[in-house]
Symmetry: C2
Amino acid sequence: MGIKPICEQSPEELQALLQETKEAYAAFQAKKLSLNMARGKPAPAQLDLTMPMLDTLKSDTPLISESGDDCRNYGVLSGITEAKKLFASLIGAKEEEMFIAGNSSLELMFACVQIACIKGIAGCTPWSRLDSVKFLCPVPGYDRHFGLTEYFNIGMIPVPMTEDGPDMDLVEKYVETDESIKGIWCVPIYSNPGGIVYSDETVRRFAALKPAAKDFRIFWDNAYCIHHLTDTPRQPLTINAACEESGNRSIFYQFMSTSKITFSGGGVAAFNTSAENLSELSKHLGIQTIGFDKINQLRHVKFFGDAEGVKAHMELHRQILKPKFDAVLNALARELKPLGIGSWTEPQGGYFVSFDAPCGCAKRVVQLCKEGGVTLTGAGATFPYQKDPDDRNIRIAPTYPSVDELEQAMELFCISVKLAALEQLV
Amino acid sequence: MGIKPICEQSPEELQALLQETKEAYAAFQAKKLSLNMARGKPAPAQLDLTMPMLDTLKSDTPLISESGDDCRNYGVLSGITEAKKLFASLIGAKEEEMFIAGNSSLELMFACVQIACIKGIAGCTPWSRLDSVKFLCPVPGYDRHFGLTEYFNIGMIPVPMTEDGPDMDLVEKYVETDESIKGIWCVPIYSNPGGIVYSDETVRRFAALKPAAKDFRIFWDNAYCIHHLTDTPRQPLTINAACEESGNRSIFYQFMSTSKITFSGGGVAAFNTSAENLSELSKHLGIQTIGFDKINQLRHVKFFGDAEGVKAHMELHRQILKPKFDAVLNALARELKPLGIGSWTEPQGGYFVSFDAPCGCAKRVVQLCKEGGVTLTGAGATFPYQKDPDDRNIRIAPTYPSVDELEQAMELFCISVKLAALEQLV
């Protein structure tokens, strides 16, 4: 049978292809595999890279920070100086505008939203007392951002992504005219799941926003800032540099963590915003905790030394991850491209491939995969309220499985996409 | 001059004593010392005891938990099995009713209050939507408990402490008749600052409470459960055993941490409540974080092995702390007892000596100490809203300074108490 796009195939050809695909699906199902491409988890081989970090602090290592604080004791809510320096250098921030925390950057995002909701920020009314509070949500996006937003009963407005980041005409219109818009979720570099890197122009337009609400904040989740997949790393304009230019110093909250650099189950999270914002938030954070784990902060600094050390470490991650992304992309190119089914991103970094099935097929694909032994992120997860209006987007997370497992999982994935598409057509 | 109680001294004798004390104060002030007895911080020598913990996990140590989870990766929100076992054995809880978190038990207390405030617990209206929400606050108590409560605009009702714990007649009356009473702060063993150990009868009465509010919870902060200062450790009835007896399984939230066992700046916090409560709260906690630092949990388990290991370690703490408490108590007995000024606790464990100055003198004592070079916890800190109605209670924290420093600090403390008392009398 000649391989040509399904839109050019005759009804008989489509029927034959459907039959063939059903057989392939049944054959795969008979293997009774159990594979998982659902979450953006590092693979064991990636975690192995960080094992030497455990040797950096020993029983005879002095645990006094650069500023003379005993990392073992209470105090130093905002984290140790040397950790501030290290993280600041990774995201182009000022050391004195850093706050270093525990294992989770999500925890910091939650705290920021919670403080604004319960107590209010910048002298404004707490969001919980307002009739309408909304966040802009570039889509497709990160399900945990949306979950957190929904948790606080904050309305979510989807904003389409372009090649250069969120549709800034729309963002400007909303933010600058509607006082109920209090935030926007951004993953500016290698976005989750689209792998999009915001253009300098996009970053500048963010920095130049003139929000209707004084307590509007850009939630700049720089989760993948150094998670490159090519040897020509993307290094777009930083939000700090752009806001320095625009004078809009307090408009953003920036987050990052080492969850996908060192250990997801034992890393360090960092937060960056203007000194003014930091001073305001610290008063609230000091009610929640006496302080975060400073010993693990020191452990990270000793392991990496400086930003160059982190970048060298990320190159080792890339060597593990690149073949996995290739396995996914090769399967898609081989199995789906000739048939003209679906479209997908070819990310230069980050943790995901974003796949768009034919409209109305995403749920069916995820179901078929599940019944065939491969767990994917739920269809719709990349949209607010888990509602993908086109039932189209599927997030593929290639990092955790081995290349062998991925090849098998992608075989099923491609069969399932074909099957769903053909079921719809025939 | 004969030493007799000031109440028996003549005006002339008092005048002479005041003059002498003023001179002693001036002489001390001239030394220009700077000492701190403000916070319950472990001393460096105590932190040294835990340094070998850093050698327990090395680059070649397998970091797989008992249940087969990779501690280095995401997941396992409630903590690793072996950490649950260890902490459960320390507080007499069931492993499956444990939740192991990060560096801060305060963070868990905050989360519990915040969840009840914002979302509501046990199917009840969120506290933030009620006109009146109040907590009972046994006094003197822990300033951070009160700070957290005030943060959420929860009213605080002081409840006096007896030798056996909070005045239970009053507690029962409030809790069982007033639906706006939603919680009570308890430090059941070696309370902060009074060092009081709740009697078994008190614990039973807590467990038998029939709250008017379905969402009333006892916040059982077991911060000092194994922090003994004598060789006859107090081991009162556990809240778990008492609630098992009473059938009131979901009435308490129990907290503890290793902040004063291993590292205050790199420890592990634990939470214990009924499986039903835990299941409810976990859904909320899963919005805030993907998980806590499991590697540090494993590090703690490997270091201690079991509860016996922790207890042996606490004996080493005791050897460091006992002479410090003795230095404080000896100074008070030597300088103040013969004059009949003030009263104080002689704790069998915990981190504090609770000192009651003559009424109306606490603020003055703290001020005199400060101006003489010794920082104390602010007067009033041990009461809700920092308001000690009698301006009497001062929390002495003997753990951080060396014995030498303590002896100097206590010299000034005793001079300051005498001076304040005499100023008031003469």
